[in-house]
Every structure is written in structure tokens, then in C-alpha cells.
Symmetry: C2
Subunit: 327 residues, 2 copies
Amino acid sequence: MRMENDRALDCAGAARLLGEWDQILLLCHASPDGDTLGSATALCRGLRALGKTVNIDCADPIPEKFRYLFEGLPQEEREPRYIVTVDVADVKLLGAAWKKWGERADLAIDHHGTREVFTPLRWVEPDSAATAEMIFLLLEELGAPVDPATAGCVYTGIATDTGCFRYRNVTPRTHRIAARTLELGAAAGEINRRMFESKSRAQVEAERRVMEGMEFLCGGKAAMIQVPWKILEETGTTESDLEGLAALPRQIQGVVVGITLKERENGTVKASVRADPPANAAALCAKFGGGGHQGAAGCSFDKETIEQAAQAMGKACREYLESLGLL
Amino acid sequence: MRMENDRALDCAGAARLLGEWDQILLLCHASPDGDTLGSATALCRGLRALGKTVNIDCADPIPEKFRYLFEGLPQEEREPRYIVTVDVADVKLLGAAWKKWGERADLAIDHHGTREVFTPLRWVEPDSAATAEMIFLLLEELGAPVDPATAGCVYTGIATDTGCFRYRNVTPRTHRIAARTLELGAAAGEINRRMFESKSRAQVEAERRVMEGMEFLCGGKAAMIQVPWKILEETGTTESDLEGLAALPRQIQGVVVGITLKERENGTVKASVRADPPANAAALCAKFGGGGHQGAAGCSFDKETIEQAAQAMGKACREYLESLGLL
């Protein structure tokens, strides 16, 4: 999509623009995760510290576990002059926020390598493990003060998008920026606890039920778990509570593709795929119009039941692994 | 225990000694973990690269998942001139290696704050998240080359002792040394996969059974799981396979003390305690002659059955939490 002033920027370029802009709205993707929220709140804090008027919007409510990111950061609905999307790879991922703000988004800051172009200006760094890494460098470039809360927001984005420094997207820079956030006062221990070690009994029960039903496919090279809506209902868990489930199937020895199918309340099905090289999660999800990264990607099934989605994913996965010569 | 030439060293001091010494034996603690093995193998590789004769001994066999640390690092039994213990806090933890080498250990390199003095020379850094951090700095100080395999050994020690950068022992330096190891070629993604994401189906089954029996104590502030030997027998798992279990009880919301009781083949019981501030795992384990760190510690029950150990730990935990004013 070509527009006037269509430009790919670097960090310095993004900083030059944001340094001049005011009355900014930062948009997070729907079903917000730690990176979109951590990045937006860090940028909001930094830009406000420079005296600018900045607010954040997201189509979905902020999950309980992420609310600390907004502590001392009141938000108000006001007409923005500039709109910046943070960690958004595709307009569909903005959900209702896309309709609300029309096609007015000016700048996209994102680390997804596979993405749509939907803004005239963009700063995209596919080698960044998280958009939050980019935001930290941006704040430095802007000369914005980074207080402990801001450092915590950056740390949150990085830690969540790397599975606490576990995934293959981690680079030396990832660790160095993490080190800086700790020095700047990020409450890393507390954040890690909240993000990675804070399951409710309900979640433990939901996980137990889901894992009991795990299926192995493709001679053990793939594993799939299904999370029908009724499990959430019966255990009293939310979608956000069960985010961690998607990581589990791939953790079994021999499994290179882990698939998690989650039924939403409206009956549609969200598939999360985690893959180890040589398998590529984004390539598998692309068959269903989805995308993401090599190690983690997703796609949606809007018309199928969870069982039908399971059949379709299983078949596509088999074909995919065969094409890689793994079966 | 005072001995002639009794001295606490720093990194430079330890490097000066090791720079002069040759025909060195490095001792790991029994029930070896990633830090003692990663540290010893990294030091062995670095010192051999400087032309020295170095070997490693451990009372127990090297668990399968750690064997890569020894790739291309053949070991031979030979009479050493100097003996260095690596990551060992107490002679009891050396197991049979203590009897074998007598009281000849010359130097202890360790990061445990609570430890016995059993060598005339020691370099101890309680703020180090892992002994492996210290080894990296030591190799730098020695001017020893650090190849990808060596970097991987260091990375292994750091990653395992921090729960992949998750625990509260992580410092900015931890992340920076990790960054250096990645730059030097450590296969971090592969190591993480092997350490943290490689469960056999047998392990998944064992975990499922153990978690089903989890008990909550002290009004939900403590959680305990028991692993009777028969679970290992029936699922075909090993003690090393189930190392990850100890982290699970504390992950439940509200729990500040997580206790894991594992019955060994000989009937004795090993307790692993994980705690969040203000609870201190080492303080609780000290009541039974054990020790460790604030966040993670252990103790042993040599005469009690697993049920009796559970009773004793539960009672001690209650008294401990009461003393902290948490109940």
C-alpha cells in the first residue's frame, strides 16, 4: 500500500518525529500481551516525561496481570493529532481500534518481520526480540528519562516476548537492554513472578485438564492441545490466564511443532503454534491466513468448530512436516 | 576451621593461583546440577586451552541432559597436584568425592553465601547468581580463550541457576555475562530447549500425578508436593528428570513457600524449598541442618518416611511463617 511520504525509518528517524509530535495516541493490538502493553506504557511514560500529551488505547480491556504497567499513568480519551501503533503486525490485530481511529495511524513501531504495511511511516526491526527493545533504544535516542516504572514496562515487554529469555529470538542486545532496565530500577523479580510464576489454582486445574487431553501427531513430532470454552467456564479462568498453555506442547521431547487450539466465547478458534527449527510456525500459520515469527505464530478459524480446526491443523501440519522431509 | 595460609581471595587472586598451578582436579558436588557441571567444564576447557592438565570428578554419574558439556572434553583419572571445588558449599555435598580425595581440596570457588569453610583458599561471591558467572570472569582474568563450547558451559551454569533468568538472584551483570556468552557462540537456544523445554512423556505423566496430590498449607501461603519413589519407578523417570518439579508449588498465587519432598531410592527424603520474600528458604531448611539461598534451599531427612518428613516440614513451615507474622 503506497502512500505519500511512505517511508521506512530507523530509530533516529522515529525519534526525530516523536520528538516533534504532540497529542499522540498509542495503539496496542487486541488481545494485548506484555510486549504491546509494556512498549506502549514505556513510550507513554517517556514521552510524558518530555512534556508531551500521550494516551494509549486498546480494543480489549487490560488483563489484571498487566495493570501494574498503568500504575500512575492515567489515561484519557481525547482527539489525537498523531497516532502510533505499537507491536501491531496487521490492521486486523487492532480489532475494534482500527474502525474507531479510521485509517489515521501515522507511524508503526514493530518488530514483526512478517507484517502488513498500513501506515505511511514505519520503524520495523525484525531482529528485535520484542518491540520493547526498540522502545528502550528510542527513549535513549529521545533523551527521555527512564524511571523504575518505565524500566519495568520495557522489561515486561522483553521478558514476555522471549519467554523469560528462553526463546531463540534472544540476542546479546536483548540481555544488555535487560541489564540496563535492571540498573534503572525495573522490579524484574516481581515482574517475573507475576508473568511466569503466578498461577491461580483455577489455572493449575485448567492446565491439568487440558494436558490430559494432549494428542501426539506425526509420529510424535507434533503435539496438540485443545481448550474448549467450557474448560474456561468450568474452572473460572480467562483467556489471559491460559496464555501460558501455548508453550506446553512443544516442550515434549521430540516435538518440533506444538499446537494449541483455544475456543473463544464467540465460538471462533484461535490457534497458537510454537516451533523449533527447521519447522517455522509462521509458515504453517500462513496456510490459514495467519502469521508471526519462526518460533511462535498464530491463525484463526472463524467458521470451524474446535474439532474441525484440529482436523485442519493436523492435516496441514502433517503436510508441512512432510515437505520439510521430517516424516 | 583455620588452616595455615587460610585466605579469602578475589577474582584476581584466584586467577594468579590457577595461572601458576598445573595438574588440577576440579570437583563438582554430588547430584550435579547445571552450575557445578557448567562451571567445572568451562574452567576445564579454559585451563586446558592455556596448556594445563585438568580433569573433573564427581561422585555421581553425569545426567544425560548435561553430557554435551563434556563433548570433546575427555576425562582421565590421574593424581592431581591441586584440587579445586566448584560450586560446593559443604563437604557433605561432595558425597563420595570427599572421602576419595581426602581433605586435600586446596581452593573453593563458590557463590553460596551460606557455606562451610573446608579449604585453605576460597573465592566466594554470594552476589553471583551462579558460580558460572565467576568462572567467566576468571577466564577473562586468566586471558583464557573462550570458544563456543566453553561459552555454552558458562551459559548453562547461569541459565540453570537462575531458572532461565527468572529468579531474584539475577543482576545486571548476570545478563551482561549471558550477552557475552552469546557473542562468543554459546548455543543458548538449544541449551534452553534442553534444560527447560525438554520433557519426556514420562516426565509429563510423573508431573501430572505429583501435581494432582499437591497440598496447600498455612492458609494457602505454602504448598507441598510429594514424590514417592514409586512414581519414578512407575513412570520410568529419574531424579534428574524431575528436577523441575521443585519450582512448581511456589508458582501458585498466594504461595510464598513451596516445598517438594522427593523420596530417594534408599528411602531417605530430600526436601527442596523455594521461597518468595519475606520468606527465606535457607532459614527454613536450616531448622533441619540444610541450607542454600533465600529463594532456593534444601535439606535431607535420613530417618523419616516421606509422610513423616511432610509432617515435620509442614509444622516447621507453619512455625516459620508465624514467626514472620504472615499467619
